[in-house]
Amino acid sequence: MEFSTFIFYFFATVLVLAGLGVITARNPVYAALFLVLAFFSAGGVWLLLSAEFLAIVLIMVYVGAVMVLFLFVVMMLDIDFAHLREGFWKYLPMGAAVGVLLAVEMGLVLANGFGGKPMPAAAATITGQATPVACGNNICELGRVLYTEYAYPFELAALVLLVAMIAAVSLTLRRRSGPYSEKYISPESQVAVRHEDRMMLVKMAAEKEAPEGPAAPAGAEGQ
């Protein structure tokens, strides 16, 4: 066994075990950490495939940003996990039966289809299609393909992100109009304020004084 094969099996085993850990861990923080481990091992496998840029991006983006954010959310939100797991035992027999059945079927089909036979040769690898420009590294190749052949899906993916942005803003941004509305003062109107706006002089007819004399009505109520 070559050394790289050994490395592959090592990473693959860790990946599968970590994946199992994600879905079986009782504590969501552990589940998230298992997912981090899964990403690391997937990154390792990608490195073996000499997709070093993607491997590093996977670790930087997913482990560095997404999972940390996820951990924050899990720790900050007070989710009642006992409540979420309530129906677990009730639905387990049905779910397990369907799951096992599906897994066996998939195993049979895939063993039949892919097992033992060599994989069909790739019709055209991405880099081998046209005369490749001397572009020694991964990033250069990726950039070239992304902005030429895959320009269309690349731009569409950007628009999908725009959908996510607009959706998130429209579902969560609140112009305070409820009881807190008075707390927000627009700086624009603060700057533009005139002294007439600060104090209002009201002209009104004189009122008859209360019979007790100068005693304030509010104070009288308190006694």
Binding site: K117, L159, L171
Partner: protein, 491 residues
């Protein structure tokens, strides 16, 4: 390998809509007081201009661009035109409804345009990756629209349900695509998949395994029987203006998805996917019609009726396949999808018409005595209900007729009998609405005070259902010509 700008010319409509989305986003961010009106007007303008672009670039041949990822062909052109039309009508109907409920924020129109763009991308896709990206763009925007009334528990619940189940369905579809990719030796382009399946001794087991997941994903997006669970809840929970969008244009896009994946990429497996769809269609027709019988909420009733209508549409799709039958089968399905979109728009348009500020006309009882309140709209609702029931000389009748004809030609006699029986049973719940309108006393005597544009458009929509029923020939011929150009001559 370089990127040629001429690619962009083929996709003028898509590029235009994308640019307009960005422009509207910026314009509404700076226009403060008029943002709502501006977003609406610009959105409608965008759809109108896109209609012109697509109409004048309609050609009889297929035109590929972006390294064969994009295709502009006749069926795609017609479907895109119908998507624009459905969106325009749905936005027009929904405008007053949204304004009454303070929901007409500019984001609503942006999301509506983005979902339209997703549908356009799906309709013109010639590549598994593009199909998936288009589907996600459409679905993500729809999830947000369903939950748009964020202060109502029912709307957010519907959005959540739709999101979770939709993500699962996208996962199934993607898994199926990965199997196709693996089995065909790395082909993602639809024609390459077709060639790979046809030529080499490709492993059929893996292909079929992938096909099962593809059919499951498509069925979910169409909302047909074993994958229909989300339909009633989402239709009922979302604001009626969103239900209008949800029930019309995405069905056309999902039809395009089915057409591209099954008919363009995997015609070699037609026997297999036809038998799967046969089961799905039979089940949806039975379940949709029977479940609609016991509904009191008109949105739920129309949701179940939609399930059965999509079953009918699939009957047309599954009777294509052979080169000789392709044109009749696929074109009858397309005709069905288009006429269903027209009918469902009018039906939910009536629900919007009867609703007003602080009141949702959600129950079938709300239609009681409509004839006394407003005979013209009662007559239009009668058109819609008769057409949905498949009573002769409305467009729904011809849609059902051509689908049944195609399915009998394809030799599936039993499903035709089943479909006719079930639509007879189904006529009960459509006619019940008519009975309520004409023979019952009105419960609620508030005069209808919908905006003029809604009344005019709804009248046009109802009249179109009746007129297309009297002369279905042109639209039928269009559909057939388009399908013939795409599937018979071009292969």
């Amino acid at each position: 390998m370089s990127f040629d700008v001429s690619n962009l010319y083929s996709a003028t409509a898509e590029v235009f809509v994308a640019i307009m989305i960005l422009a509207i986003m910026l314009a509404t961010a700076f226009a403060r007081d008029i943002a709502r009106g501006l977003a609406y007007v610009l959105t409608q303008l965008t759809l109108i201009v896109a209609t012109f672009i697509t109409f004048f670039t309609l050609e009889a041949t297929s035109d590929f661009a972006f390294s064969n990822m994009f295709v502009r062909d006749p069926p795609g052109g017609i479907l895109k035109l119908m998507v624009y039309l459905s969106m325009m009508v749905a936005l027009l109907y929904g405008r007053g409804y949204l304004a009454d409920r303070k929901l007409d924020r500019p984001e609503y129109y942006l999301l509506a345009l983005l979902t339209t763009l997703g549908m356009m991308v799906m309709i013109t896709a010639n590549h598994l990756l593009i199909l998936y990206v288009g589907l996600e763009m459409m679905s993500l925007a729809l999830y947000a629209l369903v939950a748009f009334d964020r202060d109502t528990a029912r709307s957010t619940e519907a959005g959540m349900k739709y999101f979770v189940l939709g993500a699962l369905a996208s996962g199934l579809l993607l898994y199926g695509m990965s199997m196709i990719y693996g089995a065909t030796g790395g082909s993602l382009e639809l024609s390459a998949v077709h060639q790979a399946v046809a030529s080499k001794g490709v492993d059929k087991t893996v292909l079929l395994f992938g096909l099962v997941f593809l059919v499951a994903g498509i069925s979910f997006k169409l909302g047909v029987a074993p994958f229909h669970m989300w339909v009633p809840d989402v239709y009922q929970g979302s604001p009626t203006a969103v239900t209008l969008i949800l029930s019309s244009a995405p069905k056309l896009a999902a039809f395009a998805l089915a057409l591209r994946l099954l008919a363009s990429a995997l015609p070699e497996l037609a026997g297999h996917w036809q038998s799967m769809l046969l089961f799905v269609a039979a089940m949806s027709i039975v379940l949709g019609n029977l479940a609609a019988l016991i509904q009191h909420n008109i949105k739920r009733m129309l949701a179940y009726s939609g399930i059965s209508h999509m079953g009918f549409m699939l009957m047309g799709l599954l009777s294509g396949g052979e080169a000789s039958a392709a044109a009749t089968g696929y074109s009858s399905a397309m005709f069905y999808a288009i006429s269903y979109a027209l009918m469902t728009l009018a039906a939910f348009g009536m629900v919007v018409l009867l609703s007003r500020e602080g009141f949702e006309a959600e129950n079938i009882e709300d239609f009681k005595g409509l004839n006394r309140r407003n005979p013209w709209f009662a007559l239009l609702m009668l058109f819609v209900m008769f057409s949905m029931a498949g009573i002769p000389f409305f467009v729904g009748f011809f849609a059902k007729f051509s689908v049944l004809q195609a399915v009998i030609q394809a030799g599936h006699f039993w499903i035709a009998v089943l479909a006719v029986t079930m639509s007879l049973i189904g006529a009960f719940y459509y006619l019940r609405v008519v009975k309520f309108m004409y023979f019952d006393e009105p419960v609620d005597n508030t005069p209808l005070n919908a905006s003029g544009e809604l009344q005019v458009m709804l009248s046009l929509n109802g009249v179109a259902i009746a007129l297309l029923g009297l002369m279905p020939g042109t639209l039928l011929k269009w559909c057939e010509g388009a399908m013939r150009a795409a599937f018979v001559v071009g292969g």
